[in-house]
């Protein structure tokens, strides 16, 4: 086997591995260095993978790597296994992780919209949340918290690793607009004295009110 043949074989192998779709022979010939006869290469590669966990298969004139049929049966192929969480689910999960233990009513209050049963079901199914007991208030509502799998999945060692609001702001994950010291030097004493209220002026001139995170001392920097 010549060195050139070896090299082209490696190229073909990588090409088939990285391709999103089965590759037509015409394209394979295009992609390999000019004038190479691809048939011996394809035969060789097919032979190499013949008894492996992955086989090189031909469908029409297209070629692709596929899991060996006997192995595939072992591995339980399921289509569309990965489901992306809805925005509502991610938000609910975030609120539960930051505010646990928390009742459904409290989640709704924080989100400002009702939490559909399906949202919690999805999170339960993902094994990211679990019931954590009951609140000792009338009705004894169930409280929710996160699980070990949650920590595992998100690569957190503990809940404590979740960055605080100041970190989120500093990281750019919260839309913190440039803050300007307000002109509230008179007139509204009540406002000035309220440590929970901070005025921010955006570039466009619209004004948002944002409660001040008590942990944060660098809001205005």
């Amino acid at each position: 086997m010549s060195e050139l043949f070896q090299y082209n074989l490696r190229l073909l192998e990588a090409l088939l591995f990285a391709s999103e779709n089965p590759i037509p022979e015409k394209i394979i010939a295009d992609r390999l260095p000019g004038g190479v006869d691809i048939q011996p290469l394809l035969r060789k590669l097919t032979a190499m993978y013949k008894n492996r966990g992955v086989n090189l298969v031909k469908a029409g004139n297209n070629w692709a790597f596929r899991t060996a049929p006997d192995i595939r049966a072992q591995l339980v192929v399921e289509k569309e296994m990965i489901r992306k969480l809805s925005r509502a689910a991610v938000e609910t999960l975030a609120i539960i992780s930051y505010h646990q233990p928390i009742t459904r009513a409290e989640i709704e209050e924080i989100r400002g919209v009702s939490v559909s049963r399906g949202t919690l079901d999805v999170l339960l199914e993902a094994a990211w949340i679990r019931p954590r007991g009951r609140r000792r208030t009338p009705g004894r509502p169930v409280t929710w918290g996160t699980t070990e799998s949650f920590l595992d999945h998100f690569g957190l060692e503990s809940l404590d690793d979740l960055p605080g609001l100041d970190d989120l702001k500093a990281s750019g994950l919260m839309d913190k607009r440039p803050a300007i010291q307000t002109l509230t030097t008179r007139g509204n004493v009540a406002l000035m004295k309220d440590p929970d209220v901070l005025e921010e002026v955006t570039n466009t001139g619209s004004v948002v009110w944002e409660p001040l995170d008590p942990d944060q001392d660098d809001v205005l920097t």
Binding site: I82, I95, L165, L168, L173, W209, E210
Partner: protein, 282 residues
């Protein structure tokens, strides 16, 4: 403004037909720096000597010259840059003066060594970043399986969400829920209209040059209300001057502003040079 300076500098360079010296090139680049340490590092590199051998004193001079040039050109400099300039000036004085025996404060040499360490450390990280990015990268130099087959077996979880999604969701939600409806409170600052009222009401009784402050309805206290009072009176005075009903003068920069009714214009100091009106509000 910055663009004007750029063209001015390039013109200057073209006329003289020599390569721009390092500090001039830096002037053109002021937006390209990530803070004063970055500037210092660039200046140090221009010296083309080993950073461990660099003269901090010389570097301080170059930085101060750079800042001076920018300020001369009226370029806005972030406070960080000015703080560094002040610190370097202080460091220079420490390096030039005899060593103090006070053990509490770090000596000039120690401070210089610390700065040098900081430069070396930042440089090491800039180089590390370059080395990192020059490595083979996934999706550019080597590739993953293009057509992955998914079976229950090679999945971590049936649901997809990253820590980024999670933190972003929380950050955005928190931000969103913190945005309240703005109620604009009625301002009790004074307006130009107010100023017009005071001036027109009292002007007839003040034919001589009178300090503008005399027209104010209340004493100046230095707070925002007082400042709006002065501003209102001044803009009203300017407006009346423009309409020919008033004369206005100021004899020195930041000095008191005097006004009087226009019909008495010939009486008083007509040939004195009048400074542009400028008021510094304290």
């Amino acid at each position: 403004m910055a663009e004007d300076m750029e063209t001015n500098f390039s013109k200057f360079e073209d006329d003289k037909e020599f390569a721009p010296s390092s500090d001039q090139r830096l002037v053109l680049d002021v937006d390209g720096f990530a803070g004063p340490i970055d500037v210092l590092l660039t200046l140090a590199r221009e010296q083309k000597v080993d950073l461990t051998q660099i003269s901090i004193l010389e570097l301080a001079d170059q930085y101060l010259a750079w800042v001076a040039k920018l300020r001369q050109a009226n370029l806005e400099l972030a406070a960080d840059y000015l703080v560094m300039a002040a610190w370097l000036a202080y460091l220079k004085s420490l390096l030039l003066l005899p060593t103090s025996t006070d053990d509490e404060e770090p000596t000039g040499e120690e401070m210089a060594a610390a700065l040098q360490f900081q430069l070396l450390r930042l440089e090491s990280m800039q180089q590390a970043g370059e080395k990192l990015l020059s490595r083979d990268q996934l999706g550019r130099d080597f590739f993953r399986r293009g057509n992955p087959e998914k079976f229950g077996y090679n999945l971590n979880s049936a649901f997809e969400a990253s820590i980024y999604d999670l933190l972003k969701a929380y950050g955005e939600h928190t931000h969103r829920s913190n945005v309240k409806i703005l109620r604009v409170e009625l301002s009790d600052l004074y307006s130009t209209d107010d100023g017009l009222k005071w001036l027109t009401k009292m002007l007839g009784s003040m034919p001589d040059w009178t300090s503008l402050l005399q027209f104010l309805p209340a004493e100046i206290k230095g707070d925002l209300v007082s400042r709006s009072m002065v501003a209102s009176a001044l803009s009203a005075a300017l407006q009346l001057t423009k309409q020919g009903e008033l004369k206005i003068r100021q004899t020195e920069t930041f000095g008191a502003v005097y006004v009087r009714a226009a019909q008495n214009a010939s009486e008083f100091g007509g040939n004195k040079s009048i400074h542009p009106v400028e008021i510094k509000l304290k």
